[in-house]
Symmetry: C2
Subunit: 311 residues, 2 copies
Amino acid sequence: MKYLGIDLGGTNIAAGIVDEKGNILIKGNTPTQPLRPIEEIVKDIAALCKKLISASDISEDEIKEIGMGCPGTVDAEKGIVVYSNNIPIKHIPIRKMLEEYFPYKNIKLENDANAAAYGEYIINGDNADSFVFITLGTGVGGGVILNKKIYRGFNGVGCEPGHITLISGGEQCTCGKQGCWEAYASATALINQTKTAIEKNADTAMREWVEKNGKVSGRTAFECAKEGDETALGVVRNYIRYVADGIVSIVNVFQPESIVIGGGISKEGEYLISPIREYVIRNEFNKYMKKTKISAATLFNDAGIIGAALC
Amino acid sequence: MKYLGIDLGGTNIAAGIVDEKGNILIKGNTPTQPLRPIEEIVKDIAALCKKLISASDISEDEIKEIGMGCPGTVDAEKGIVVYSNNIPIKHIPIRKMLEEYFPYKNIKLENDANAAAYGEYIINGDNADSFVFITLGTGVGGGVILNKKIYRGFNGVGCEPGHITLISGGEQCTCGKQGCWEAYASATALINQTKTAIEKNADTAMREWVEKNGKVSGRTAFECAKEGDETALGVVRNYIRYVADGIVSIVNVFQPESIVIGGGISKEGEYLISPIREYVIRNEFNKYMKKTKISAATLFNDAGIIGAALC
């Protein structure tokens, strides 16, 4: 049997046909253009899916289920996007809208971070009983897999790890609260931390980097730190501590068997993960028990497709 | 059928016989004297249990199971206290030691906070699928009940809510990390915050309170705040914000149906809980979904007995 997974993002819609092991057989994408009516977006999603099916040697009958990851607050049970920021919609019955294009299919809706978490779990989760996925991207997102299922809590939305407190009363977060982990550990936060350091330090090599590359990105501080720039090293050390301190909270709360860290910043690989691992071992509460495995994601954008298809 | 629950604390050993609904039929206690050999402590535990059985009209055969909550890191599966601070022991096979006194009984070992969480869940948990218990005592402890079972994580120890980060790089916590929730929201922390405020404010009514009551306690600031003392009000507002900010993290992570707050400080009841509830509604991430019920514990010391007996 085959599964169709859709990852609805604020910029891009990605979709793919996936086998039961999580291998992507064919995939494609189309721009979201988030400000147009949701009916048009859903029409394009359906068209993308139909196009993938015809381009493959798989018949529509072979597709067992269709799953879609959506940004924002998703009511998986009711198949509704309750609220989303990236695509400005509220209380939209997206499952029902998709059913008009695929009337004989079981269609599942899921929060995009939960779907990506499930995708990483399927491929990199070692079949663990407790697994946490954290993305360091525009925000800090993620999902929790317990007993091989997405943990959703009583209201169906699941874990929002980016909105645990990191510094009570600290930086304003986009969610309205102050001091969220996301406000310190997202790529957006890292970019702001990098900009502040560049402004304060005339002699940092990051200034040259920015001139060459056009703008400050999540890579600026990491790349200059690797070249030995002291200011960049300071930014990276601080940033990694913010990330690691939140990971300690996650470890102390879930004692998960495995944590996978994804999102753009996770492309730094061991340069990022290795100091996080050391920090967690030094700072977690249960120092005398088995250690949580911490690793970098490998799937990136495919995680959402695989997870939405199979969750 | 009846169950025997034991709550092994650093100061006191409490035990009781409990029915399957969580009613305590008889209970008693004896001092721990934590610095003597563990064999003597276990001997006293067994003697207390035997005494309770003979004082009741229940025969030993009617006792279906014996459970014990222990402080520190407990390996429930192996029946071992891996590490404890309050009773200075390491790698002690307490289950095996208790089995010598009750050779025909199923004996369970559990972390004391997990056991108390389960006790509160049985009595005050409304049969919820997701339930979190938080104690504001000497430390900040607690436990999580998911799908009607204690959540233990992959290493068997369960949730340590007191050691999520509240202020990264902040106050030193007894666990070795800086900035844990416990370092701000425990009764110990409240006492320190109260002392600092008294030192700084010569005109606070708390000075008189301390003279009358002999020392600063977790009640000092609350009682003087209720009388309108501005300094005490400041301490209480700050403290409640620390507590509430951690509760928001717990809500955003677990989206639990119900949170019960226990420990000495929870005796303040609605004076404490009501502002926490308001803060959580204002600051939680999923503002458009069903709300977590937040209430004060009712069982206090009995929670550990009931939970250990029935978990």
